[in-house]
């Protein structure tokens, strides 16, 4: 149908998934590509929610048609090809930017599930044909390798010659496209096994036993796979704050946040796995802090803090001693040593000479801070609601945190991160279960309503806050404010595992 993309697909391409900008003049795909995809994706999504005559469908079809025609006028034709999350417009690679990551990723997965790898528009097909096409795609059954034939046949039958679809260049194996329940199950398994692994390694280090690095790598590969397939499952689990030992729990959460950030900034998966391991063991230096200080429930004295603040150095030293880490050591040392340094190096340990912080160190610092801050503490008098933490991070960007990574992070977790307890304008309470990949709907996540019965809160139905009232066109529900789960004696994690 269409000749292959004109990109030299060398091994480095897999490392080019990230935020690559055209160096000088932006190409048409770089300029309009994302906007076209976002409008196309909105239309496809809407086709699963509304009927054909709904006002939203009309608006979204016209939006899509407009940008499509811009493209067609400039190029004569438009071929959109997706090869493993990489987008090609008329065979030209469209660089993916960190702030577009979610939507592109989800769109690519959506198409892959439907068995479509390519869409070609030869001319303006008109509003009705585009609607037909969107509803046709929305109705396809998943994981059917013949879908592209079916769509082409249907288009032909309807006399729509301007649109053609092709199969994916690479069919993802069944196991690579698990359904969302499978993904959650897999994520859960990986999450709890990771806690187990951290315990095993920490105890091994204390007893000077050999570390099973192969096992750690396998586990991290599963974590990376899980996050790449559907980060929401793993990010949801990061709401678990007090399972088993706090430190182990925290380390696993840091690894998850770190991988999710790393994925957005465009690290290839080998480095994502290394970043995850660096996150998992960033606090390994705490094994050398006396237990009576480490486990002290009351406020630490300044002397105690001096000891605790040696853990980055201890961490780097501990990793150095584990020979089995091999080439991984250097990156893990950065994670352990740099995570309290702060962006302007005003943190600890105090350095004798200025240097640039490592990317790994900066990512882990963000993940470490966020996870530590959103957990309840005995001496914490005030509710820690996520938007306050995010606001704080934003304010301190450039001083304490890398300002670009803070943006990437907020883009990733959203204003209402997974697991946020919210009050709706309908006076209902809900927990954020899924953030919207479309930034325009950042404040309208999917929430699970809570109902109170038999002395406890229970899971109700899931509501997409993007949904509008058919008659008025207004949103059905909106978030009024966030709530502190402790006030309601809620362990959010229970709703997300």
């Amino acid at each position: 149908m269409i000749p292959g993309p004109q990109e030299d697909r060398n091994p480095n391409l897999s490392e080019a998934k990230g935020p690559l900008l055209p160096s000088s003049q932006e190409s048409l795909p770089a300029k309009l590509g994302f906007e076209l995809i976002i409008r196309f994706y909105r239309l496809l999504k809407a086709a699963t929610l509304y009927d054909r005559n709904n006002i939203h469908i009309k608006r979204m079809t016209l939006d899509f048609q407009q940008i499509l025609n811009d493209f067609l006028r400039a190029e004569g034709r438009l071929s959109l090809k997706v090869i493993r999350d990489r987008f090609f417009f008329n065979n030209i690679f469209m660089p993916m930017k960190a702030d577009q990551y979610s939507i592109l990723k989800n769109f690519s997965q959506e198409l892959a599930k439907k068995g479509i790898g390519e869409v070609e528009f030869n001319a303006d097909a008109g509003e009705e044909a585009l609607k037909d096409f969107a509803f046709l795609l929305a109705s396809l059954e998943e994981k059917n390798e013949s879908n592209y034939l079916l769509v082409n046949k249907q288009l032909e039958a309807r006399g729509i010659a301007q649109i053609l679809v092709g199969k994916p260049e690479v069919f993802l194996a069944q196991e690579e496209l698990p359904d969302s329940e499978d993904q959650k199950r897999q994520a859960r398994k990986t999450y709890f096994r990771s806690i187990h692994l951290v315990r095993e390694v920490v105890e091994g280090v204390k007893q000077q036993k050999m570390v099973n690095v192969r096992k750690a790598k396998h586990l991290m590969e599963n974590t990376v796979n899980s996050i790449m397939q559907d980060e929401s499952a793993m990010l949801g689990l990061a709401n678990i704050k007090n399972y088993d030992e706090y430190t182990f729990n925290h380390c696993v959460n840091v690894a998850i946040y770190a991988i999710a950030i790393g994925q957005r900034v465009g690290l290839p998966r080998k480095l994502l796995s290394q970043l995850g391991l660096a996150g998992l063991f960033h606090d390994i230096g705490k094994t050398k802090i006396p237990v009576e200080i480490l486990n002290k429930p009351e406020k630490l004295t300044p002397e105690d803090w001096i000891v605790v603040r040696r853990h980055p150095v201890f961490g780097a030293e501990t990793i150095m001693r584990i020979k089995e880490w091999g080439e991984l050591s250097a990156r893990m040392i950065h994670g352990a040593f740099d995570h309290h340094l702060k962006f302007d190096l005003s943190g600890y340990p105090k350095l004798s000479r200025k240097r640039n912080l490592s990317l790994f160190g900066k990512i882990i610092a963000l993940a470490d801070f966020y996870d530590a801050m959103v957990r309840p503490r005995v001496y914490r008098k005030f509710p820690y609601v996520s938007e306050k933490i995010l606001g704080f991070m934003l304010e301190h960007a450039g001083k304490d945190f890398d300002p670009i990574l803070v943006k990437v992070f907020i883009n990733m977790v959203g204003v209402f991160p997974l697991g946020t307890l919210v009050l709706l304008n309908t006076n209902e309470m809900g927990i954020v279960m899924k953030t919207q990949e479309d930034p325009d709907f950042g404040e309208r996540p999917v929430v699970c309503l809570l109902s109170y019965s038999e002395g406890e809160y229970r899971k109700g139905k899931e509501i997409d806050l993007k949904e509008t009232d058919e008659s008025t066109g207004n949103f059905q529900r909106s978030i009024v404010k966030t709530l502190d789960p402790n006030e309601y004696n809620l362990n959010i994690a229970e709703f997300l595992i």
Binding site: P11, L21, N212, S273, K286, L300, G326, A330, H334, F382
Partner: protein, 584 residues
């Protein structure tokens, strides 16, 4: 090998014969493909990576794979303990645990490999390399599954079992109730609650208070936070690119050096030095001498400026010494030989930071190194490092390789002053003239009466070029005291018949001393006549006249002046020429 491929053939009722043939054909091609793969892996073990035979074999495999995939779209290799199969039928079997490819795949958990249409050459090549790499990987560190996963191939996928999957499964809560059982209800220790130090007083930053203040304000996270500016994108892109660079791991050097400033315990300090040594070795292996120099320089700064305990000083010194031991210098030699693109200034700067104990090792490298620029650089480094310590050089002066002894004579001439002379004298009797020549140069550099005596002895060297060099150096070093020795040669019977260059060197040397004691012998040569009007050659006469000009005294000038009126055309010409040079 047991071929049972007929077993699972789907038979169409319409034309069973043709289907069987088609499946047979596919199976046969699959078998050929596996044979080509085995052959390629064997070739990898036999030939170096850039060998043309290996390249040819790899290309054959790739072409075969492409052809197969063009017809059948995909090729799925099933992996058993000792065998590869295709659609349940045996393709290849090898029960030799040491070399069996199926076993290598199987033991790492691989159960199926799938190659799909569109496969690219780099994918096939890197897949082969992974298989080879697997043999050299530490069992506790990596396996094929990880190596394949990390490559993120587009057209090669696999099915594997994870040997660790079942571990820790009992700890995974299946229900909320099970989850609740393991929920930790103890108060979170302060140390686990996060630390956000804001000042240097060592106390905890009161984050609660800050957030409390914040909670009063309304927080607005504007939409702009979702979008990165082009400059931010570019900065991020560069940072990611930096992470992908193989040299990125060297950034850890900064941390190790910080630890050396912070740590006060012996064991971790030694660990830090060990890691530093590995990093430095890696830098050298990759030819990053500039980085290695910076690293070693920083170690020297720590040694000089930090308040260190005695054991720390000792540990750092030992670290520097190790870098110059026999093994390390030998490796340096291989790098210098192999890497032709090295910046020799960086290499030199690095070597100068080594302990002087590295000198014997460097001399060995000097003897073995084929690269002449590298040898020159090494000579200069050794000159600098061994200054005032000729004893480091002496043991090597008996080396059978004349070129090494010549270089050592060069070095000795520049480092040790008079204390080098007895050793340099040894080289004066070396059978190789180039060694003796370097010794004579060395005497000239060192200077002094003892050197002058040795230079005078070299005036009798069997090689005229060395005699000439000795004469020039002797005149420079010995001044007026050396004139008798020079004149003794000049007045010898056969002197004017010697090679013109030697004659000129001796006469120049004698003239350069500026003594009238040389006037008579020089005048004699100038005016020497032979039977039948032959006399000395014109060039000898000219050299004598020039030598007189060099003396430059009124008496010497008078001799020249007289010569300009000589009836002998040859004498007249030489004197006129020399006078012209003299500017008279």
């Amino acid at each position: 090998m047991n071929s049972v491929h007929e077993k699972n053939i789907p038979v169409s009722s319409q034309n069973p014969g043709s289907e069987i043939r088609a499946v047979d054909e596919e199976f046969q091609q699959g078998k050929d493909l596996v044979s080509a793969f085995i052959k390629t892996i064997k070739a990898f073990r036999l030939y170096p990576a850039d060998n043309p035979t290996l390249k040819g074999i790899q290309e054959q495999l790739f072409t075969r794979m492409q052809l197969f995939l063009k017809i059948y779209n995909s090729f799925t290799l099933e992996i058993g303990e000792y065998q590869f199969s295709f659609r349940g039928n045996l393709l290849y079997e090898d029960r030799d645990l040491n070399g069996s490819l199926p076993f290598l795949f199987f033991k790492d958990g691989l159960r199926e490999l799938r190659f799909t249409e569109g496969i690219e050459e780099w994918e096939m090549k890197e897949f082969n390399e992974i298989v080879i790499q697997r043999n050299n990987v530490n069992e506790f560190e990596d396996d094929l599954i990880t190596l394949i996963w990390e490559k993120d191939f587009i057209h090669i996928s696999h099915v594997a079992i994870d040997p660790f999957t079942e571990e820790g499964l009992g700890l995974i809560p299946a229900t909320v109730e099970q989850f609740r059982k393991n929920v930790n209800t103890d108060p979170i220790p302060e140390s686990a609650g996060g630390d956000f130090q804001e000042d240097d007083d060592g106390g905890e930053y009161d984050f609660d208070q800050v957030i409390f203040e914040k909670a009063k304000e309304s927080v607005s996270i504007g939409a702009a936070v979702y979008f990165l500016t082009p400059a931010e994108m570019e900065s991020l892109r560069k940072e990611v690119e930096g992470e992908l660079h193989p040299n990125c791991v060297f950034q850890v050097v900064d941390i190790i050096l910080e630890i050396m400033g912070l740590e006060r315990d012996v064991e971790p300090y030694q660990d830090a030095l060990r890691v530093l040594q590995k990093l430095l070795e890696a830098q050298l292996e990759t030819g990053e001498f500039g980085k290695a120099r910076d690293l070693l320089n920083r170690v020297h700064i720590i040694l000089k400026t930090y308040q260190l305990a005695d054991w720390q000083v000792e540990a750092i010194r030992h670290f520097v010494e190790i870098l110059g031991d026999a093994e390390h210098t030998r490796r340096l030699g291989s790098i210098l030989e192999k890497e032709t693109e090295l910046r020799l200034e960086d290499v030199s700067a690095y070597l100068l930071l080594l302990d002087p104990k590295a000198i014997p090792g460097l001399i060995k490298v000097l003897g073995d190194l084929g690269n002449s620029k590298g040898r020159r650089m090494l000579c200069d480094v050794i000159c600098e490092s061994a200054k005032g310590k000729p004893e480091w050089i002496i043991p090597f002066l008996d080396d059978p390789r004349w070129y090494l002894v010549r270089n050592l004579a060069y070095i000795l001439g520049r480092i040790g002053g008079e204390s080098s002379l007895p050793h340099l004298q040894k080289t004066c009797t070396h059978p190789e003239p180039r060694v003796r020549r370097e010794a004579v140069q060395g005497f000239g550099f060192i200077g002094g009466p003892h050197a002058a005596t040795l230079l005078a002895q070299s005036l009798k060297d069997p090689d005229f070029r060395i005699r000439s060099l000795a004469a020039i150096n002797l005149a420079r070093v010995g001044k007026k005291g050396s004139l008798p020795a020079l004149l003794e040669v000049i007045q010898a019977k056969d002197f004017t018949k010697r090679d013109p260059s030697e004659v000129k060197a001796f006469l120049d040397a004698a003239g350069s001393i500026g003594s009238n004691d040389a006037l008579r012998p020089l005048q004699k040569i100038l005016e020497q006549r032979g039977w039948f009007g032959g006399g000395v050659r014109d060039e000898v006469r000219l050299a004598a006249a020039n030598s007189l000009a060099l003396i430059g005294s009124p008496e010497a000038k008078a001799v020249l002046e007289a010569g300009t009126h000589s009836r002998d055309e040859s004498i007249r010409g030489a004197c006129l020429e020399a006078s012209r040079r003299l500017g008279t």
